[in-house]
Structure formats: C-alpha cells, structure tokens
Amino acid sequence: MNDQQTKVLVLRVLFYLLVVVILVFNLFPFLYALLSSFRPSNDLFSTDLWPKALGLDHYQAVFKDARFVGSLLNSVIVAGSTVLISLALGSLCAYALGRLPFRFKGPVLYLVLTMTMFPQISVLSGLFVMLKALNLFNTRQGLVVTYLIFTMPFTIWVMTQYFRSLPKELEEAAYVDGASPLTVFWQILLPLTMPGLVSTGLLAFIAAWNEFLFALTFTVTDTMKTVPVVISQFSGTSSFEQPWGSIMAASMVVTIPLVILVMIFQYRIVAGLTAGAVKG
C-alpha cells in the first residue's frame, strides 16, 4: 500500500468515525429514555448501567393515570383543530396571495413573514386578559385560538410559496374554458398543492403538539391540560424522588408517534422547513 492509499483509508475511517459520533449524539438520549421507560422502578433506581429486568410496568401505570390519558386526548383535539383551521383559512389566503391580482400583496406578505417570527411571549398578558373576557380561559377552544398565532402566519407563508411555484399555463387553459377563479382553485390548484398541505399540516401539528408556554399559562384544571404540561408536572405518589420511570414512559408515548411521522414524511418535513426559512 502506498502513501496515497493509506491517506485515503485513514480519511475514510475518520469520516465514518464522525458519522458514528453524530449518530450516537443524536440518538443516545432518545434510546436511553426508551430503555429507562422499560426498567421497573427497583431496577431503574440502581446505579447499574445495564438493566437486569425489563417490563411494561410504567406504561401500565401511565395509561391508568386519568390525568395523562385525558391530556393526550386534549392534545389531539387542540393540535388537530389548530391544524384544520390554519390549513383551511391559510391555504385560501395563500391562493389569493400567490395566484390572484391583489394590490397590497407586497405589504401583506412582508407582514406575514414578520409574523412567522413573532415572539409568543410578547402577547402573553394581552391573551390572558382576552381569554378571560371571552370566557375561553382554561378551555381547549381558548388554546386553539392562541395556537393560531404561530400556525397561521407559517401556513400562509409556506403555502403562498407552493402556489407561486405552480406553472401559469395550468389555470390559463381552465380560464379559457370559462372556469371561475374558485373552480380553478378547487379543481386544479388545490390537488397540486397536496404535498405542500401535507408538509405544512405536519409541521403545524408538531408545533401545536409540542407547545408549552400557552398551555401552561392558559389552563389551570387537570381536565384541560395538554400533554407537555402534564409531563412537566408529573409527581410521585409518596416518594420524594420523582417517578422517573413514569415520566420516561409518558414521554415515549407522546414522542414515538412523532418519530414515526418524521420517518415516514422525512422528505416532506424537510421541504416544508426549508421553504419556511430559506427559499423566497
């Protein structure tokens, strides 16, 4: 083996070493939590690194916990409704901004982009008082309304980019045949933006599912709390050590569906994320 070949080999080994380091760094915390969730308490609270026993105790415990199960349902309802409302209103608005003649298009788009970066914390007290006044404080509907703050501007922005990217000829042919603008939207453009709707819908769902600040501030009773709030407040029945096994099991229950979604829709998610941030 000559010097050149040795150098190539060494670089190759170093490269794969880097790949392994990246994989371990990204996956270890998740896998460690997954493993912890299967270790019965007496095994979990030992300083052995490797488990001596595995079981479903913690999963049984969290699914018997009415607070946790209720919060799962709340999260599904809140995140689901938020996504449906943002997609419905957002894609109609995006069609107008991306496809129809409209005088204030520039300023409106600029405003929408600015809104996608709007810090939620800035309207916390305003929303608090508003929700109280509308009798929406401590309700799922109230949470849905506040979640539109971050899902609507994002949906409008990304969907506008999708509508813009479609070729002009498609609708021209339909207009020649006498179709109305709304028919063009329903029958020609909307089906073509399906991939965009899936991307934005998924990203909006993940954002709403993971939201913490509003859920923590605008709900007080256990029956209205969403999953992140309940996981942040898990406390043991008697011991002063936190019920780490249950916390990890509950964490896995809310995370694994997301991980599966990410694996299936990896390409679409990446497309949506980058469309929201770099393209324009």
Partner: protein, 295 residues
C-alpha cells in the same frame, strides 16, 4: 376583451374574500392582544380582581430597569443565546457537510438527525434532567465509574453547571434544524465549481474555504438570525430544567412569572414590550438578509 376584464375583476374580488378572514384571525390573535399589551404596559394592572387598573405612566418600565432580577435574566438569556447559537452553527455545519457527502447510510443519518428536532422540548428537557440526575443519572454514573469526577455532582443545582447542561439540551434539540437549512444551502452550490477548483489543484481544505464557506454564508446568516430569534425567547428548557429559580430565569421566564406568580399584568406587559422591540430588530435584519421577494 370584455370577458378578460370581467375575469380580472372577479379575481380581484375573490382575492379580498379569501384574504380578509385570514387577516381577521391574525389580527384577533396577534394585533389586538399586542395593542392591549402596549396599553397595559403603561398601567398599574393587577390581575387579582380587586384593584381596578389605573394609569401609571412609565412606572412599569422604571421598575423593570431598576430590578436586578430583570438584568440578571437579560444576562442569562444573552449568555445562553451566544453559546447555544455559536455551538449549533459549528455542529450544524459539520453535520450538514457530512450529510451532503455520498456514503452508505446517508439516508439513515438524515432521518436520525431529525429525531431530536421532533421530540417535544418538554420531553427532551425531562430526558436530559434524568440523564443528569444527581444519583441515578447516566452521566454521573459513567463519569464517577471512570473517576473523571471525584464524587457525583448535582448538575442542575448551581448555575455554573446548570447553564452548560441547559445549553447542551438546546444544542441537541436545534442542531438538526441548523443542519437541514445548511444542507439545503450546500445543495444549491453548483458541482462544476468544485470541479473547476479540482482542476486548479485545490485540496479539500482549500475547497472548503474558497468555495463552500463563501457560498453557504448567506444561508448561514439566515439560519443564525433565525436561531437567535428563537434563543432570545427561550422558556421551556429553563422552566423544566431549573424551575423558576430566580438566579436562572431568562427574560421569558421573568415575564411569565410577573404575570402568573405576581399577577402583575402591568410589569409583565412592559417586559413583553422590551422583549418585542429587541426581537424586532433581529426580524428586520433577517428580512434584509434573506433577500426574499414580496411581489
């Protein structure tokens, strides 16, 4: 001809009908509360339901600016933002370069780096809190077994060790986003530039500094500003990892506590306004750098 004008009119009218509901909703959830926040910030406004709100001038702002807790929160937020964004950029670029090269298992790597991003922040904070648990946490057990630390540390009990752990959680969670943006930027670099550089006899390192880095810089800037905006308003990680400890609050935690713990909408709103002004400066920078077309 008449038909075309008719169509244009119909399109214009439809545009209004479609835009108005969305704009109305956005105004309801952002515009209206924002105006309220501005108004409250100049009022003495307790949420106890007893004291009626009254005009207070700039008292709330004077209170915040003379409150050492606020300045401490600003300091913690800035340190957190600086370190997490810097480390994320370096790691993000490294991961993006690796994910952009051709090798077996590239698809697997691209999926794997998305996992920390998809995990809810509350969950990742809890996972890391467990990893850094003082008695049973994997980090303490490994470090103590290897005799790297003389005795197990209560990592999250003091700011000196808690802040690095918190930064690590944020780096873990958001490096994927950084890598994905940078990967998209790398994929835009035309392959013939590298070929031309090879013909000129450039080495790998030379190619990185004279082709890759300059061409990926615009994307890097956008990603940097994007992440900075996020880091400046950090709430979840600090709230979960160190609770409401006064010596470890960020401005967002400080703000939420003014409102919920002290029921003071006046001071809370004034804090919000200060945060908003600060963040808006970065938003303007972002829209300048991103070269987005609005027409």
């Amino acid at each position: 001809m008449a038909r075309e004008i008719d169509l244009l009119e119909r399109q214009k009218r439809l545009a209004w009908y479609l835009i108005v509901p969305a704009v109305f909703v956005v105004f309801l959830v952002i515009g209206y509360p924002l105006i309220q926040v501005l108004v409250y910030s100049f009022m003495k406004y307790k949420l106890d339901g007893v004291t009626p709100p009254s005009f207070a001038g700039i008292d709330n702002y004077l209170f915040i600016f003379s409150d050492s807790d606020f300045w401490h929160a600003v300091w913690i937020t800035l340190i957190f933002t600086f370190f997490s964004v810097t480390i994320e950029s370096v790691l993000g670029l490294t991961v993006a370069l690796v994910a952009n090269s051709k090798f077996k298992g590239r698809t697997f790597l691209r999926v794997a780096i998305l996992i920390p991003w998809a995990i809810p922040t509350v969950v990742s904070s809890q996972i890391w809190r467990w990893m850094f648990n003082d008695i049973y946490g994997v980090v303490n057990v490994i470090l103590a077994n290897l005799h790297i630390i003389p005795h197990k540390l209560a990592w999250l009990a003091t700011p000196a060790t808690a802040l690095p752990v918190i930064i690590a959680v944020d780096v873990w969670k958001t490096t994927p986003f950084m890598s994905l943006l940078l990967l998209a930027g790398l994929q835009l670099i035309p392959a013939d530039l590298y070929e031309a550089a090879s013909i000129d006899g450039a080495t790998g390192i030379r190619k990185f500094f004279s082709v890759t880095l300059p061409l990926v810089t615009p994307t890097l800037l956008v990603a940097l500003i994007f992440r900075t905006l996020d880091a400046l308003r950090v709430f979840d990680i600090f709230y979960i990892m160190v609770g409401g400890q006064g010596n470890m609050a960020t401005v967002a935690v400080y703000n939420q506590q003014q409102l919920i713990a002290f029921l003071d909408a006046g001071v809370g709103s004034a804090t919000s306004v200060v945060i908003l002004i600060f963040i808006m400066i970065f938003v303007v920078l972002y829209t300048r750098f991103s070269k987005t077309s609005f027409e």
